[in-house]
Amino acid sequence: MADLSDITAFLASQSADAIYPNGTSQSSVAAMDCRIYEGWPLPDKLDKDMRGLDDNGNPRVGGPVANVSVYAMPGTGIKIFDILDETYVLRPAVHGMAVTVVNGVINVAGQPTVGEYISLVCDGNIVFSQTGASTAAILSNLAAQALPTYPGTGATATTLAVPVGHSLVVRQGAVGLLGKAINRQRQSIMITVWAPNERVRSQLAIAVDILTKKNTRITLPDTSQAVVFYVRTSNSDDQQASGIYRRDLIYDVDYATLETFPGYEITSVNITIASAAGNAQATSLT
């Protein structure tokens, strides 16, 4: 499900693409090393990166390192209005088995996908439904379920014979993934460039800003979409005595909270009908 962490992870990843358009084996757009991450810099590490020192305080081989951090600004989340009554199929059910009935014997080819099942509706009334790790397991489970009602039921690894009275309906079903957006919210995300000088700061910030403004509709790992739009930028030279030039790029992101749940293909239906006296009468329909 989409969450704030997915948004910051996406923006950090996109910022890395902007700064290293050809990957980290090539130089960055500012022609210097750069670290991109979610969260905040560790102060001691940031000081060393700006001065070009390694963890032990010795001169670093690659020289100074610019930093780009991505963080959700506290207290900026709001609810936005949306109509949220639609359930979507995120991943359709996939059938791995092919079921045929030949001369009253059920033949199954292939192997089930995870959670796939076979249902039998015998004589228009009695339902047997089983899943299993393999076709043989499903048929064996079905046979065990049907045997008390239909003595003479027998299964092999690929066939099942149930001596029904007058009708046999075989259906197969599998499990898909459904999703419903249960909330939409807007959150401000701050992308901060920490650079050792103004030149690097503007080169990194321009690259990140252009790519973020270009990609206004993003798809998150759970298939839901978020909308990114620019809010404001602030430059800060307060820390130049520490050798840090900072620019904050602030974007609002509208994203959905997506609840996902399994969806089962319906292979049989039971309906309870109440009599005139109010007593429930169980009935099975197929």
């Binding site: 991109i36 969260g39 905040w40 102060p43």
Partner: protein, 128 residues
């Protein structure tokens, strides 16, 4: 005599760099310090010294936070931690290192000051 001057034991830790030991560049995941010494956790801490004799002395008491819990009486109090020169050599402790005392309290070193008698670590206690 030593025990009376330095009756406490402390442990000194340092945050791993967010890049870990590899000095990686590019996209690095999350940056932040975690109070774990798990060797594979890149956000954890490295134990630099253990069982260092020390004297932990109260300094400024700190104020109550505006947004504190009802029982909070003080927040971020300062403590002076002294370690002898024969146990902590010059330059081994840096500002922003973490000190954990034998009662489990956690401090961040604000100013690490060394002289011939040893370290004076002006620390702020880290607590919720």
């Amino acid at each position: 005599m030593v025990l009376t001057i330095y009756p406490r034991k402390i442990e000194v830790r340092r945050a791993k760099a967010n890049a870990g030991a590899t000095d990686a560049i590019g996209l690095l995941g999350y940056s932040g310090e975690e109070a774990t010494t798990d060797p594979v956790n890149p956000q954890g801490e490295v134990v630099l010294f253990k069982d260092i004799p020390a004297s932990v002395q109260a300094s400024n008491a700190g104020r109550k936070k505006d947004s504190g819990l009802p029982q909070d009486i003080t927040y971020a109090p300062s403590w002076n931690i002294f370690g002898p020169s024969w146990a902590l050599a010059k330059d081994v402790v840096r500002d922003r290192d973490i000190v954990i005392d034998d009662q489990g309290y956690r401090y961040e070193v604000a100013q690490a000051y060394w002289n011939i008698l040893g370290y004076k670590l002006i620390c702020v206690r880290m607590e919720a």
